[in-house]
């Protein structure tokens, strides 16, 4: 066998797979979104945006992303710095912090349902402490705000781990000498963190934020478990149009919208957190 051809033989299955089951389906879904019965049209998008639930859906999804991602970033950064500062028990603590990484979003929704449902643990505590006389209905159709808070907590709980792991890996790549040099010049902990660690962590921050933002727009099962249809989000509406309303074209239009938002944010963070070639370690 020609040795020059070997890498191509090795790559062929993966490439073929991604072309057939990743690139081609996206062409298909784009075509479905921009056409109806074989003719090119924007009707699907008009139907999507014209639906009475659409403004709520878009606002909920965006608001969730805007609130959840910064919270997660702050928490993930604190967890990663704490883990990096530990001398003993580092691996055990890391494992505990990383546990939610392996937990399905549906399971996370159910876990927080155990806390927030009317006969749940939060109500048990509130009544036990005498804060309220009666169990409060946190997840009813009239309590959008508390559903929203529950979803935020569940999302922060579930998906902070993925950011933390990326940041811990990134902090491991930063040479210790940089921080030590800053220390010699009298920089305190906070100053070293903001002036040395954060700038050098930029590539990892970029990866973590992009990954998390994209996942934030895909939020689905957590909301389904906690709020049912009381808190419509983009992915849930996609599912609803595909299944309950049996309209593939409008579902595809939703998919294109999610895709467009994801790509826009990816490009934004690629640009905003770019690392000049000379500054790479």
């Amino acid at each position: 066998m020609n040795p020059k051809a070997l890498p191509y033989y090795l790559l062929a299955p993966a490439t073929l797979f991604l072309v057939v089951f990743f690139l081609y389906p996206f062409v298909l879904v784009a075509w479905e979104a921009f056409s109806r019965d074989g003719a090119v049209t924007l009707d699907n998008f008009r139907e999507m945006t014209g639906h009475w639930k659409f403004p709520d859906t878009l606002r909920n999804t965006m608001l969730l992303a805007v609130i959840v991602v910064p919270l997660q970033l702050a928490l993930a950064l604190s967890m990663a710095s704490i883990v990096s500062n530990l001398d003993r028990g580092r691996s055990a603590i890391l494992y505990i912090f990383a546990i939610p990484l392996g937990i399905s979003d549906l399971a996370a929704g159910l876990i927080w349902l155990a806390i927030f449902e009317q006969s749940g643990f939060l109500n048990t505590m509130l009544v036990g402490l005498g804060v309220t006389d009666q169990p409060v209905m946190f997840l009813g159709f009239q309590s959008k705000l508390s559903i929203f808070i529950a979803v935020v907590l569940a999302e922060v709980w579930r998906a902070t781990a993925i950011m933390m792991v990326i940041l811990v890996a990134g902090m491991g790549l930063i040479p210790k000498e940089y921080g030590e040099a800053a220390e010699v010049f009298g920089a305190g902990r906070w100053k070293r963190f903001t002036k040395v660690t954060l700038p050098l962590l930029r590539p990892s921050l970029q990866t973590a934020i992009i990954l998390r933002v994209i996942l934030a727009f895909e939020v689905f099962a957590v909301v389904a478990a906690l709020g049912g249809t009381n808190l419509p989000v983009l992915m849930g509406e996609t599912y609803h149009w595909q299944f309950a309303l049996q309209d593939r074209n409008v579902a595809a239009a939703f998919a294109m919208l999610i895709l467009a938002i994801s790509i826009a944010f990816t490009l934004f963070f690629l640009y905003a957190l770019r690392v000049p070639k000379e500054a790479r370690i």
Partner: protein, 282 residues
Amino acid sequence: MTAVTSDAPATAYPEVRKARNWLLIAIVVVLCVWVLLPIYLLLVNALSSPNEVTGFPKRFWPSFDTGSLAFFVNFAGVAKALWNSVLVAVFTMIMSIGIGAPAGYALSRFDFPGKEAFRFLVLMTRAFPLPLLALPLAVMFIRTGLDDTAFGLAIVHTTLALPFAVLITFSLFSGIPVELEEAAWTLGCTRFQAFWKVVMPLALPGIAASAVFAFTISWNEVFAAAVLTIENRTLTAFLLQSLNVSPLYLKFAGGFALVVPALIFIFAVRKYLFAMWGIANR
């Protein structure tokens, strides 16, 4: 001199350092409780009788009654859903490693035109909301007879797991010196023999870890599973579609069934988590 440079001025006083240590420990404890307490509460519910789960107020420790779990296991469709979840995850594991590992090896050992294009294709998958692929594939699968099969769903899950498999195996093979292989060649091994007898044994634990990771990705996936399966639902699809109609104790027992394997998986691959994400940074 060394003692002075390794201690910042503020940490030179033992009391200050001690206070800081206690603060650190307190924060670590709070964060551990934040992560573990919700899981514990789910376990309490899953290990209590149906009456206790729907009752109020709740107890904060389980009664170790298997009523909820027994109800769940005997509920129509659950056994099949569990079996389907395992089946899809095993298919996903085999496909993503079978296709991904050769690609990872090629990326680590060769320089060739088109390498960057392939890496871009792999990285691009991460900028896309992949579960949405289920929508167009649903149509494609109906035409090819793959609709509502474990194999069809495994294909979608493989697109989720494949990029990780490629990047993880790439980093694994990069960590094994090429000199070892070259030594085997000079001793008369063919390229394949050298790979099989020298590289493979060294890479096996890491490959196993990425296989477990692929399994977990498939086991946990909800959206594509719910879109693509109707009769042959996986556990996640089953739980999602019965959310409106199922009693609380069924939900919590179902959550228990989802969480416990995931905990074991993450424990099994804990050593490799950071290697995986470290390389994913690039």
